[in-house]
Symmetry: C2
């Protein structure tokens, strides 16, 4: 017997109302098809910004040879690229830290994947030129509000080396339609392989700088504060996986079921997904449903016979081509980023 | 500063796809207005039954003087009653048992409240008569499937004394509209004050019996199996409450916020709701927003000033007129029913 997803209408699960933070229930993170824009997880820092004529312009200035303003129609005429990309919130799975941390209690669904179309950032910087000594590129969104008693806009930076990566783009379409209001219309920076905070929504201004950017979303939030007192900026998505079926504590009917889920990594591609029924003493390889691609999820499955009146402990771990593998326990950090411990569930056959 | 529920579209959170089990996110259990049918929590034991001509009949037989079949139009002509009623799944809050149990991992939203209209069961039994020695009334729904290797229909019983309670009704309308397909169309038994499994959906047949009913949903499921080896049938809703705002682990802005939530009980009415900021050493009374009514939730609130960079531990407990109060720890039972421990959250002001 195999489970089928039926006619249940997919939806997002609300984590907070203002600002709107919503994740995708584990049942609907299937990724066989790109997820509809309406089901793309929502993680906002401030209220949704209001659209003004200025929203349709993108200004690039700072340490450039020629400061330039691109408008929406200019931008759409530039040579574009289209790529299926996973975007995952760095707080995804935060709820699973054993020692709880403050912040949205995301479970597994603060991630989505779809086809983004846009213009490589590199293309714009070829127009503006880059002055010698530039170290970082700062991206400013139109979303704004009060943080630490100051009225600010959402800003993040990338090192110049990463900013010039050919996959970093200024996207304007999602699944063939303009990026929606809730996800950054008209422009969203896309940084494949980095956690979602890097992919600045409602992108409006870009500055090239020669020193270090120290905005609060760069040096206060989105920093791993480890237990030993050290800290490190949040960047690349950790190697990770989830079991989508069965669910933890599910009572399943006896017989053969397909255990399935997805795996992903920010660095390289997933090389294998393994499953264990003895709490990690021995591991067997799950089947990958397609050849893993960079910055995309890969579906995996494992057929399993469940015997009547028996309990099963199921663990799954992914490993990537760089040899990184999911740990038994996630590295705790004060703000709860980058959780990627092996997912473990127990299931009982009736 | 007070929180407002904004334009975020309410929805249900899926716990399982087949059968469809969905709960209401804590943000949308407000109960100021009766909850829309589409947002009423869904807890099914089997696939949704298919509507047939027989669905529109209600047969009452067994130890009666006159077995009778009522059809839909007959039933609608009988004198009806309308009442706002809370229905709560006995597995509500199951996910919070410290020692986890199998089954749907419901959090706080496996409960809903709305206005039900129907005919008291008593009225039907006056038509059929009740033979001497009747001990129980069995209710059979049209939902069916395989359980313990047998194809069965959903069946539950009530002791005759409870069946004759004037509030027990056969409902056909919810919030002024026919009860929907997903919630029992055309007839649902409503047993106010008992957990939801008693309110049999897609009600089709009623039997009066002189012995003890032993269907699996009566004597296997919906039984408290305690740690000391004793067991007890699940009946009356336990006294209970939730904090809806703020949420656990929320980072709130400093300033005055309204802490609010709801409380309810299956026996009598709620007499008080108390709040503690010192893990239960001292308690203060929250304000009830209206006079509590039987088998309905009551909203409560407490204004609180949150000081910057401070953590708050908040506990809330309800007490009912029978003197029952929420315990610090829920009574663990193997199948995870009736969880009603005091809800405790921690919040940090920025």
């Amino acid at each position: 017997m195999y489970y089928q997803f039926g006619k249940v209408r997919p939806h997002l699960t609300t984590r907070s109302v203002h600002p709107e933070n919503q994740e995708t229930p584990i049942h609907f993170i299937s990724f066989i098809e790109p997820v509809a824009d309406s089901l793309f997880y929502r993680r906002s820092h401030f209220p949704y910004p209001i659209l003004t004529p200025e929203s349709f312009t993108l200004k690039i200035s700072g340490s450039v040879d020629h400061a330039l303003v691109f408008n929406y129609s200019d931008l759409l005429k530039l040579p574009s690229k289209s790529k299926r990309v996973l975007i995952e919130c760095s707080g995804n799975k935060r709820a699973f830290f054993k020692e709880k941390v403050f912040g949205e209690q995301w479970e597994n669904g603060a991630m989505s994947e779809g086809i983004l179309e846009g213009v490589p950032l590199k293309t714009f910087l070829e127009y503006t030129g880059i002055k010698a000594g530039v170290s970082e590129v700062v991206f400013r969104g139109r979303d704004a509000g009060v943080k630490n008693s100051q009225y600010i806009r959402f800003e993040r930076s990338l090192p110049i080396s990463r900013a010039l990566h050919p996959e970093v783009m200024i996207a304007y379409e999602y699944n063939g339609k303009p990026i929606s209001n809730k996800h950054g219309f008209p422009f969203r920076l896309i940084v494949p392989g980095w956690y979602g905070m890097a992919s600045v929504k409602w992108l409006n201004e870009i500055f090239l700088i020669k020193d270090k950017f120290t905005g609060p979303f760069q040096t206060d939030d989105y920093v791993y504060y480890f237990q030993n007192g050290t800290s490190e900026q949040v960047t690349t998505n950790h190697v990770n996986s989830i079991i989508q079926q069965p669910q933890d504590k599910q009572l399943v009917k006896s017989g053969t079921h397909e255990i399935f889920g997805i795996a992903w990594t920010g660095s390289g591609v997933v090389s294998k997904v393994e499953i264990s029924f003895d709490k990690g003493d021995s591991w067997e390889q799950a089947k990958l449903k397609k050849t893993p691609k960079e910055h995309q999820t890969v579906s995996w499955s494992y057929p399993m016979e469940f015997k009547s009146a028996t309990e099963y402990h199921i663990s799954v771990r992914a490993t990537d081509r760089e040899g990184k593998t999911q740990p038994a326990e996630a590295i705790w950090n004060k703000k709860g980023y980058g959780y990627n411990a092996i997912m473990q569930i127990t299931v009982k056959a009736e």
